[in-house]
Amino acid sequence: MPTRIKLHDARFDLAEDPFTAVGDEREIPPGDVIISLARFQEHGEWLLSDGRKVGVRLESHEEVEALAYDLPRLSLVALAFPKFGDGRAYTSARLLRERYGFKGEVRAVGDVLREQAGFMVRCGFDAFEPADGSTPQDWDKAVHRFRHVYQRAVDGRPPAFAERGK
């Protein structure tokens, strides 16, 4: 079973991935799956009623608003980085967490590098499929690189102004 880096209780671990990512050209296998937005919109109801966990993969141009009413029933949203410089998924992750209160897994897939770790965690990602062979240790180091942050974000770290206000 493939693995991905998972963040839980402020620790990064290599964890087995219970989900199967299914491309649109493949038949949907049994078990927990991640499917495209288009496929979810077509077959989501059937899959969910099947009693399994369902995740949806959003491409960087697809908007989280499309999932607004289905989010409570989804276990996972995978946000794609076609290139690591395409930053739309950061906004998507924040909206999932802050605007929609999504509690499931938010996974970074695609061109995912350790250099993005800090940005991703701050925006609410909690699972990662790195493309650069980086390890949980690399992610841990990258995320804790900065002892302070200037802005409020999803991760709840107190920003500099809050630290100063103490």
Binding site: E63, F84, G85, D86, G87, R88, Y90, T91, R94, E98, R99, L113, E115, Q116, G118, F119, R122, C123, R145, F146, R147, H148, V149, Y150, Q151, R152, A153, V154, A160, F161, E163, R164, G165
Partner: protein, 551 residues
């Protein structure tokens, strides 16, 4: 000047350590150039024509003497003994070795400086009025807001991977010295009738191959809502800005495509949902305001005998005082402009020795305050009139007292083909030839305010679109040609210039400028600037004269 606290210093140290690790991975071959490039750019490190270039951030153009001395020391130790001040009020070193870059970052951090986000598709160094805190025109100190935005934008988790670079300018004076209307966001502090402070928010200006003047999307944004509003703007841009075509990726294209009204509607809709979360507490704004160590000004007579005596006795000083000295908000003080546009010199360049002299003067006479302007000059914002003669003499001794502010030889020029990998034509020698033509300061003063801006390629780093006379270098079958535009302005009356006619060969440019000036002197009516005359007469008389000469 804003005083960094332990948190600000830690962030610089952490960033520097991160960059050192990235350079080590690159030098060890663990990162290839494609992977390393976006990382080094976020730290201001470019690979130019001949060497690495390091662009050091000078947030809102504000420096203290220790910082300027450190820049001089770096110039001498790691470069060829000089640095280049840019239209983003940054300082560039053009001859840096990659292996030295991490050490340079540490040296910068030792004086609270860095190169964070001076490049890359993120929020760049925020610029502000170089007269901030010194001019009576302003209604509040824009540096407070610029510093708050510096912090907000530094390693921003959501907005560090935008479709393209993002530039913000803030001013608080009716006279715009920041070129706010050609920025991605231009902010103008205003006071409402009830006395409360707010911003006029202008979005979507920019130069480059598609020049646009920014549109006002909000007349008055209460200052305490600035950060949620910025978040809304940047979120709309991050989601909907084009990423398929680098030339159409700036926010100006999104604003122009949607129309300013529709863009504003989307921003307002997003802003409503953002809520009040991201704004800074008033206590933090008060802390930032307090961290700009307040200046203490003496109670002086508005008239200085020492100043008047020098002015009456020395014509050269009188000329300097006329052109390079601006009124200060406190009687008995002045704002001294230090020209980095010596005749025959490279616009914006300063030697290590010159930087040290300016640092000394700021320390001795200038309340430890130095500013960089977007027109590539320096400013000593707080000098007693009594001390201006001494400051002038010291500047003059190192070639920094050229009395040409806003005159024809005060030219913005990008580095051009001499340094830049993107350029199609030289810019520096063109500026030098024009300056030579107007070497006679009496003639230059007779001409009055005339802003010439030169770019060596369509990326427009030299702001040619908004020059009263703009000059754009183009390559035609291996030969350098120059397209002239007239009537542009980057100030509060911002406008994009209009083409004069066919491009001219390299050796015709300075003569053409001379001709344009002669037409202006002939046509002008009572005290009009070049720009005003052009706006009245249109392009015809100018065009006729230049191309008649060319035939």
């Amino acid at each position: 000047m804003y005083q960094y606290d332990a948190i600000d210093k830690d962030i610089l140290a952490d960033r520097s350590a991160e960059f050192r690790g990235q350079v080590a991975r690159r030098l060890a071959g663990e990162l290839n150039e494609d992977q390393f490039k976006p990382l080094r750019l976020r730290n201001g490190l470019y690979l130019q024509l001949h060497a690495y270039m390091l662009r050091v951030a000078i947030p809102y153009g504000s420096l203290n003497p220790a910082q300027l001395r450190k820049l001089a020391w770096i110039a001498r130790t790691y470069d060829k003994g000089y640095g280049h001040f840019t239209t983003r009020t940054n300082l560039q070193f053009h001859w840096i070795k990659l292996a030295d870059a991490p050490d340079i970052m540490d040296h910068l951090a030792s004086v609270d400086m860095h190169a964070i986000q001076t490049s890359g598709n993120c929020v760049r160094n925020v610029t502000a009025d170089p007269y901030a805190g010194a001019t009576a025109e302003e209604i509040d100190d824009p540096r407070v807001w610029a510093e708050a935005m510096r912090q907000w934008s530094t390693v921003h988790p959501e907005f560090s991977w935008l479709p393209r670079k993002f530039k913000i300018a803030v001013t608080a004076a009716p006279k715009d010295r920041t070129a706010a209307k050609v920025h991605d966001i231009g902010l103008v502090l205003k006071r409402a009738r009830d006395g409360s402070l707010g911003f006029e928010v202008m979005v979507g200006g920019g130069l480059g191959r598609m020049p646009y003047i920014a549109s006002t999307i909000r007349e008055f944004l209460p200052v305490n809502r600035l950060f949620s509003y910025l978040e809304a703007i940047l979120r709309v841009y991050n989601r909907h800005g084009r990423r398929d075509n680098i030339h159409k990726a700036r926010i100006k294209v999104l604003v122009a495509t949607l129309g300013a009204e529709e863009f504003a509607r989307q921003v307002e809709a997003e802003w409503e949902k953002v809520g009040t979360g991201p704004d800074l507490p008033d206590t933090e704004l008060a802390r930032i305001r307090g961290a700009f160590a307040p200046k203490t000004f003496g109670t002086l007579s508005p008239r200085s005998d020492a100043f008047e005596t020098a002015r009456a006795g020395q014509p050269a000083f009188a000329r300097f005082a006329r052109n390079n000295l601006k009124p200060h908000k406190v009687p008995g003080y002045g704002i001294v402009e230090v020209s980095l546009k010596g005749i025959g010199e490279t616009p914006g360049d300063a030697s290590a020795e010159q930087m040290e002299v300016v640092a000394d003067l700021a320390e001795r006479y200038g309340q430890n305050d130095i500013r960089v302007t977007h027109e590539q000059n320096l400013v000593l914002p707080h000098v007693k009139l009594d001390d201006v003669p001494a400051v002038w003499a010291a500047l003059d001794a190192v070639g920094l007292a050229t009395p040409n502010m806003n005159l024809v030889s005060d030219i913005i020029a990008c580095p051009g083909l001499d340094y830049c990998a993107l350029a199609n034509a030289r810019a520096i020698p063109v500026a030098q030839h024009i300056a030579e033509k107007f070497r006679d300061p009496e003639r230059a003063e007779r001409v009055g305010e005339l802003k010439i801006k030169i770019s060596g390629c369509i990326n427009a780093c030299g702001h040619h679109h908004v020059g009263h006379i703009g000059i754009l270098g183009v390559d035609k079958k291996g030969e350098e040609f120059y397209q002239l535009t007239l009537g542009g302005s980057g100030a509060e009356d911002a406008a994009v210039g209009q083409a004069l006619g066919p491009a001219l060969p390299y050796d015709r440019v300075a003569d053409a400028v001379d001709t344009l000036v002669e037409v202006y002197l002939r046509e002008r009516k009572d005290g009009e600037r070049f720009l005003d005359t052009f706006r009245r007469t249109g392009v015809a008389p100018f065009k006729e004269a230049v191309y008649a000469d060319a035939n």
